[in-house]
Amino acid sequence: MISRLPQALVAPLIDENPITLHILGICSAVAITNSLYSALVMSAALTAVLCFSNVVISTIRHHLPHAVRIIVEVTVIASAVIVVDEMLQAFAPETSRILSVFVGLIITNCIVLGRAENFAAHNPAGVSFLDAVGNGLGFSLVLCTVATIRELFGTGGLLGWQIFPATDAGGWFEPNSLFLLPPSAFFIIGGIVWLIRSRKPQQREKAEFDIIASEPARSSRWST
């Protein structure tokens, strides 16, 4: 039991990272990583929701009827998300406006339901909490890495500080606005996945079927 505790916290960082191994939570990872600040707020919001839902689900796991467990899990997650959203609107309204609909979309973030269903529903509250923190940090790690690359090369600055002097201010750096557009997040996440899987071959998925050589196409009866 004791040996599982740090494992639950550390494994999701790289070995079982929800984004790079399970390819979950891509929607928000693509949408809000054009600035490090919004990535940090999104990470904090998702980690908070994940911790709350994992602890609650794990606490009531012995009383969860199998037939309605998903409904109960989604209700708990949705409530946590609404509370976080309301708090952002009250205490950080500017940020809330930047993140707009993506805070609400944490409800549909597969990481949260995935951890509730796969981990918290079968494990005690303490280790579920660590699992939530670990997965939250794993998500945050990828999000912040992607956001740092995108903001730095897209604007030449980070969190409002100018790091590379931009050309229109007399410097040498020409901001590449492709980095601010969603496709760049796909490239960067793809690069990170490739990097991790080339270092850790056990993460590579087995081929689901063999690719066979294609036969010459038969003439279609429509083309005559």
Binding site: I60, H62, H63, L64, P65, H66, A67, V68, I71, V72, T75, V76, A78, S79, I82, V83, E86, M87, Q89, A90, F91, P93
Partner: protein, 260 residues
């Protein structure tokens, strides 16, 4: 109780729903004053932006907003009599979207209801910008149906009570990326200097594609391609609020008193 019995399922779902709804509504109720305070300062920011007291393009700190707002006086118009009402406190009427027991609702005759409002309040709070006791601008609240939602805004008019000094829309639920272009600064800038009324105080204002070529170009604002229904809603609400059932009687009366 057996975990897989229907009774247990109903019990668990009911308890979860109750606890979660208390949590969610509690958060909404307790945080509402903070959210409202933010909404108020945002509304004031928009008013200050078109007041002419600050550079309308500049980034404003909360201090700039509040200090400029102090130079704007709040007055209440009684739309039934078309004159200022000095008995009631205008502060209670500033937010048109909030219910107010002092307020009276007036039905709008169908023929004049271009903004599809059905009714409008009797009293409306407006903002006056004066310098040396001379009227510089009046800022009128306007609202009406867009494509999906009710659009709320302010329209600032210069001392001649016809020339548009600025316009903002501070709340709407129009299509992101299309209808929400009504908040784009470059489009709103095109309103500046256009006029609502001709020399005979007839309402001529409209929004259309002929804003540059039309003989009535002085009264035409550009449309937005792709957002026709939203823009039509905006045109209709301006035409309603500055028409004979809206602010026009008040303005005519004000001008008549000025010329006495």
């Amino acid at each position: 109780m057996d975990n897989d019995s229907p009774a247990k399922a109903i019990l668990v779902v009911t308890i979860t729903a109750l606890v979660c709804s208390v949590l969610v509504s509690g958060a909404a109720v307790f945080l509402q004053p903070l959210q409202q305070a933010y909404a108020d300062i945002e509304r004031i920011r928009y008013i200050v932006q078109i007041s002419g007291l600050v550079d309308s393009e500049a980034e404003l700190s909360e201090f700039d907003i509040v200090s400029a707002y102090r130079d704007i006086s709040l007055r209440l118009i009684d739309l039934e009599s078309g004159s200022f009402d000095t008995d009631l406190d205008p502060q209670s009427f500033i937010d048109v979207s909030i219910e107010n027991e002092l307020q009276e609702s007036v039905n709008i005759p169908a023929a004049q209801d271009t903004a599809a409002l059905q009714s409008r309040p009797r009293w409306v709070a407006v903002y006056l910008v004066e310098s040396d006791a001379e009227l510089q601008r009046i800022i009128f609240p306007i609202y009406g149906r867009g494509m999906w939602s009710t659009i709320y805004g302010y329209l600032a008019i210069e001392g001649d009570l016809s020339t548009i000094a600025g316009v903002v829309f501070y709340e709407h639920g129009e299509t992101p990326g299309i209808g929400d272009q009504i908040q784009r600064a470059s489009w709103l800038a095109g309103w500046r200097g256009k006029r609502l009324y001709d020399e005979q105080r007839q309402l001529q204002f409209n929004i259309g594609t002929d804003s540059a070529t039309s003989p009535a170009a002085d009264y035409r604002v550009d449309g937005i391609a792709g957002a026709t229904l939203t823009v039509n809603g905006v045109a209709n609400m301006v035409r309603y609020w500055f028409g004979p059932h809206g602010y026009a009687p008040f303005m005519n009366q004000y001008l008549a008193e000025l010329n006495l």
